[in-house]
């Protein structure tokens, strides 16, 4: 499935309605259509793919259990991303404690045949980004993940976050300010 795939609203409406009628296949199709975007948001928020895998899995389970309550199928995307971001926020607490790694994600450094120094820097940077992301407030993490990486319009991010577009702008600004300080040595 292509990363840049944009899902047609009519298609998703049809799939959501079918899922609400108990069609498991329709929900599997939704899962296939949204898993990459969900992962991207979760990785951005948590700074770690292993943690993101757990958040995305839980997000899909929550969505599956409560899809019957979604009144407007055309608003599925905002509804689902809200579930994913909230799950990732909950995951952040666990992420700070968790030491065990999930095997689904392989080390990307290993694939690129980097030198030992490059590998060390890459690993350091990855950890620094994760630590920095976990230091952002919940709203800042959500705003920068949705606005920065998904390139979603500010209004849509506001809809997902349940606040005004101006508030989104403010949270993104504050998040960038914090990240600038926390990742200073990697920006030069």
């Amino acid at each position: 499935m292509n990363d840049s795939l944009k899902v047609k609203t009519s298609d998703i409406e049809r799939l959501v309605k079918a899922s609400q009628d108990g069609d498991r296949g329709a929900f599997d199709e939704i899962m296939r259509l949204y898993q990459r975007r969900a992962m991207r948001i979760a990785v951005r928020m948590l700074g770690n793919a292993n943690e993101a895998v757990e958040a995305v899995q839980s997000g899909f389970v929550k969505a599956y259990l409560s899809i019957g309550k979604l009144r407007e199928p055309k608003r599925f995307e905002a509804w689902f991303f809200r579930i994913v971001t909230n799950t990732a926020i909950s995951q952040r607490r666990a992420a700070k404690r968790r030491a065990e790694k999930i095997k689904i994600v392989e080390s990307y450094d290993g694939k690129k045949a980097l030198s030992p120094v490059e590998k060390r820097i890459g690993e350091e940077l990855k950890e620094a980004i994760q630590r920095a992301m976990l230091k952002l407030s919940k709203k800042q993490a959500k705003a920068i993940a949705l606005f920065g990486i998904e390139d979603l319009p500010r209004e849509k991010v506001a809809q997902i976050m349940g606040c005004s577009a101006e508030a989104v702008k403010w949270h993104v600004f504050k998040a960038r300010q914090k990240l600038k300080v926390l990742l200073k040595e990697y920006l030069e």
């Binding site: 499935m1 498991r24 929900f27 599997d28 899962m31 296939r32 898993q35 990459r36 992962m39 991207r40 990785v43 951005r44 700074g47 770690n48 793919a49 993101a52 895998v53 995305v56 899995q57 899909f60 389970v61 599956y64 259990l65 689904i104 994600v105 392989e106 080390s107 990307y108 694939k111 890459g122 940077l125 990855k126 980004i129 920068i144 920065g148 990486i149 960038r176 990240l179 600038k180 990742l183 990697y186 920006l187």
Partner: protein, 164 residues
């Protein structure tokens, strides 16, 4: 002079704004790079299978929940009824039983330590009534003696308890 100062100020502000913009862009680039590099290591098929597996488990528990609610309700009802009966029996065993003679006074039998069983028989002595109109009666209590010491000291204790 003022014009030059103003120009320099504007240039300074512009430089700072552009500098900030550059830093913001760097932050975004760093995060985007980190995200895409981390996602490059994700095994999508495995992730898909893992989610499907969890959904299957959820679906299964949902199905059981809808298929067996009546059975669960009946089981809960039976358990509750059994609990009520047990409590009632325990309460009944611990309560002194009043035994009333026909047209005569009542007698109270309380088992020692609230345990055991006995057959109680009340026989009218058919004697004369006392001053306040009561008449004596025989109370016969038949119960099993302790098995541990049929002829020991406990036998006397049991008999004594019966006489009381």
């Amino acid at each position: 002079m003022a014009c030059v100062q103003g120009k320099a100020k504007i240039e300074g502000i512009t430089e700072r704004v552009f500098g900030m913009k550059k830093e913001e862009e760097k932050i975004d680039l760093l995060l985007k790079r980190n995200t895409s590099e981390q996602l490059a290591g994700v095994n999508w098929d495995e992730l898909n299978a893992a989610i499907s597996e969890r959904l299957n488990q959820v679906q299964q528990s949902k199905t059981y929940g809808t298929r067996f609610p009546a059975i669960l309700k009946i089981a809960a009802g039976v358990a509750a009824a059994a609990a009520i009966i047990i409590i009632a029996v325990m309460f009944w065993m611990d309560t002194p039983k009043a035994v009333r003679l026909e047209n005569g006074p009542g007698a109270v039998v309380k088992f020692v330590e609230g345990k055991g069983s006995a057959k109680v028989e009340i026989l009218d002595s058919k004697g004369q009534n006392n001053q306040i109109g009561n008449r004596s009666a025989w109370i016969i209590i038949r119960t099993r003696e302790p098995e541990v010491a049929d002829n020991g000291q406990s036998r006397d204790e049991a008999d004594f308890a019966c006489l009381l």
